[in-house]
């Protein structure tokens, strides 16, 4: 079985669009200092609520800060939280799901009950409660969101590991005397790759959305630059014309990020699942 998943993702239109959007957002975040001469909190010389101009592409807000700059730095927060949660929660998922599948028995049952329990808890409420108390910054946000998003992934990883475990090359490695860490690192995780990335993208999408939501509700670290926070402030001034270049571009940026992640995730899933694949246009083959 040697389907080149990444190749298929890059070939499909949806995959292309998704990767392009993600790439764009990453570029904006990374090159923020180059793309804007201001810092996000700096009071500019322009008056408050000034309209888009050559110096200020998206005008300024009530505190005379440059909105374009804030948008760029907001991307950094969103993507950091997204990638951070994706990595951390995937790591926990692999450790829990993978070892549960390999060891089985009581250990497996214990973790799966933990997963069941945490999936049963309505996580949005929990996050809002905890966040309201902790006022999380980026790092804490990553920890908080990861703590609630790993169980779903762990369940998928466990199922996948159970099938991979029965593969002959894994059996063969066991008969070389390999321990579980070797099996996991050398045999299981490489084959989990595509599934793992699909889970990570999904986690990232939820994390970006949750972060924006929490910031919008005003229960994240007040010093944190965030699209959610921008929208929260912009919302107050909707009676002014300023929403056109304050609220709208921010919402658009958030939507495009989410769409990018969704598209990539979807095309990856369809590449992984033969039933979702197009009848033609894939190389397939064993």
């Amino acid at each position: 079985m040697h389907v080149n998943v990444w190749h298929e993702v890059a070939e499909s239109n949806m995959g292309k669009a998704g990767l392009l959007l993600i790439g764009l957002m990453v570029a904006l975040a990374v090159f923020a200092p180059i793309l804007s001469p201001y810092s996000p909190r700096e009071k500019t010389d322009a008056p408050a609520f000034s309209r888009p101009s050559e110096g200020h592409w998206l005008g300024t807000n009530d505190a005379r800060q440059d909105i374009w700059t804030q948008l760029l730095y907001g991307a950094r927060t969103s993507l950091s939280v997204g990638f951070g949660v994706a990595l951390l929660s995937a790591l926990i998922s692999v450790l829990v799901g993978g070892t549960a599948a390999i060891f089985g028995g009581l250990y497996d049952r214990f973790w799966m009950r933990v997963v069941d329990a945490s999936i049963a808890i309505p996580d949005v409420i929990v996050i809002i409660l905890v966040a309201a108390y902790l006022r999380p910054n980026v790092l804490l946000m990553i920890l908080l969101l990861s703590a609630l998003s790993w169980p779903g992934g762990a369940r998928v990883i466990r199922a996948q590991t159970l099938t991979l475990k029965e593969r002959m090359h894994v059996s063969a490695a066991r008969t070389f005397g390999a321990g579980w860490s070797h099996l996991l690192v050398r045999h299981i995780i490489p084959d989990l790759g595509p599934v793992l990335v699909a889970i990570m993208i999904q986690d990232a999408r939820r994390a970006v959305f949750m972060e924006a939501g929490l910031s919008f509700l005003g229960i994240s670290d007040p010093s944190m630059m965030s699209w959610g926070k921008m929208m929260q402030y912009a919302r107050i001034f909707t009676y002014l014309e300023v929403w056109k270049w304050w609220l709208l571009p921010t919402g658009l940026a958030l939507s495009l990020t989410l769409i990018g992640l969704s598209f990539t995730g979807y095309s990856l899933e369809s590449a992984l699942d033969p039933r979702l694949r197009d009848a033609e246009g894939h190389e397939g083959g064993i």
């Binding site: 090359h169 063969a172 490695a173 005397g177 070797h182």
Partner: protein
Amino acid sequence: MLEISDLKVSYDRTEILRGVDLDLLRGDSLAIIGESGAGKTTLGLAVMGLLDARASGRILLDGKDILSLDERERRKMRGKEMAMVFQNVEDALDPLMTVYDQVEEAISTHLEKGDIQDVGDRVNGLLGSVGLKMEKGGSFPHQLSGGEKQRALIAMALANDPQVLILDEPTASLDAVSKADIIGLLRKRIREKIVLVITHDISTAAKLAERMAVLYAGRIVELGETKDLLENPRHPYTRGLIRSSPNMTTTKDLQGIPGRMVPGVPGCPFSDRCTQRIDRCRREVPKLTDAGGRMIACHRGGIVPLLELSGVRTSFGDFAAVDGVDLTLFEGETIALVGESGSGKTTLAKTVIGLFEHAEGEIRLEGEPLLRRDRDFYKKVQMIYQNPKESISHRMNVLDAVIEPLAVQKVGSPAERIEIVKRVLDEVELPPDDLFLKKYPHQISGGEAQRVAIARALVLNPKLLIADEPTSSLDASVQAKILKLLLNLQEKRGLAILFITHDIAIARKVSDRMAVMLRGKIVEEGTTGEVTTNPVHPYTMKLLEVAPDLAQKRDVSDFRGGPWSASEGYPLRAREL
């Protein structure tokens, strides 16, 4: 009686016999077998008192020590007390004398004065008794066929009814039919004598001698009853000899013995060619000791049992896939486990290697009960699988795959590991170059992939290889090459192989012993030749009937499809080892 004790003979400082002890009574027949240069003929010549070499020890014939007698006394005994049928029929007869004259000469040499009148009758009687017609007596040797010359030589040896008869390669250079005639003749004529049959031809030895001694580099390494010794050789050298002798009893492909015989090896003479040697073998000479009715000279007590299963049971829920299996696998031996799908063969294999846990019974490896399979266990036991491409991760190239066991076992430095990989790849006849090392499983053929899998199983230098249908996914010509490779590796490394197959035709060619498995039990077990030619259990018979052959037509109407469905009434495990 003939009593040989601590006989040592050396030519020019090369010790040919290095301490031989034998006791033979009247009526005993003993075959001395071994490779050329083992000292067989020297032993015969020593008993005849014909040695032209330094000898020590004693050869007592009825109390007289042949070695210490002077030549005049020996001459008196030679031909009368002991006689020898020499190896080379062409040279042993005088070309200028008729057969009659030569036999007459043999008699008259030992004749007391005045007994001349009945010599003619005795010669004719002798010639008749060895099956030579009267008129052949007047022939010169060159007028006779090889078989007739051999008969004449036998007549000469029997001329004075000697007590000891030494037959040195009595049937060498004869065609099969003459050979059978001569053997038949000898069997009749050698009763009530002490007979030493010196031969490298195991089949001749088996027919002429009740007991058999295996001589290696001047020492007897194994001695026992002929039938028992041939069916169940206990010394690795004896097994090697049998494996390299073409015969109609064993069905396994011929295998040789690695290396060659070198005189003067310190310690056990066979130690440099032995695949189960330990340090002690190189230092001390093993004594010929009695081991249950058999004399063996081996520090390890003969071929060691590598894997012993007793009452092993593996169940999935209530269903016992392996249901009380007893099996012993010896060092350097192949046992074929045959049976239809679902008979529990693979489950048994996976139980041994530890992929399944056994519920009951005991598994012993090298005599130690196996309680826990740690890393060291997997250095000794490895497995190859039915589908080579699936058994190698598709994300690993050849180098990654073959080096993995070394990395897991933390053998050597990274550079040494690569060297080991290259050496083993070379051993399994794969190119050890960088181009091949970089190839992925989907870039190589099925045969190459199985070789890679074999190389991977061999890098740890295991003693036991479990081969689970290793060739069933390969086409016939590739299959043949892989099977040959396994046989060669066994010969070279002394690898014990548990060979699992549903194909009894393959099993017949590659295994020493065969175990037939049915519903989780072994129903028949024995040497492969015996099981395939003379099956006892009806299930084995059925397997043999449906086994592939090249006959064009056969009546298959009697065979019903589906799994074996005989009543439980048949005796399970009909043949005990």
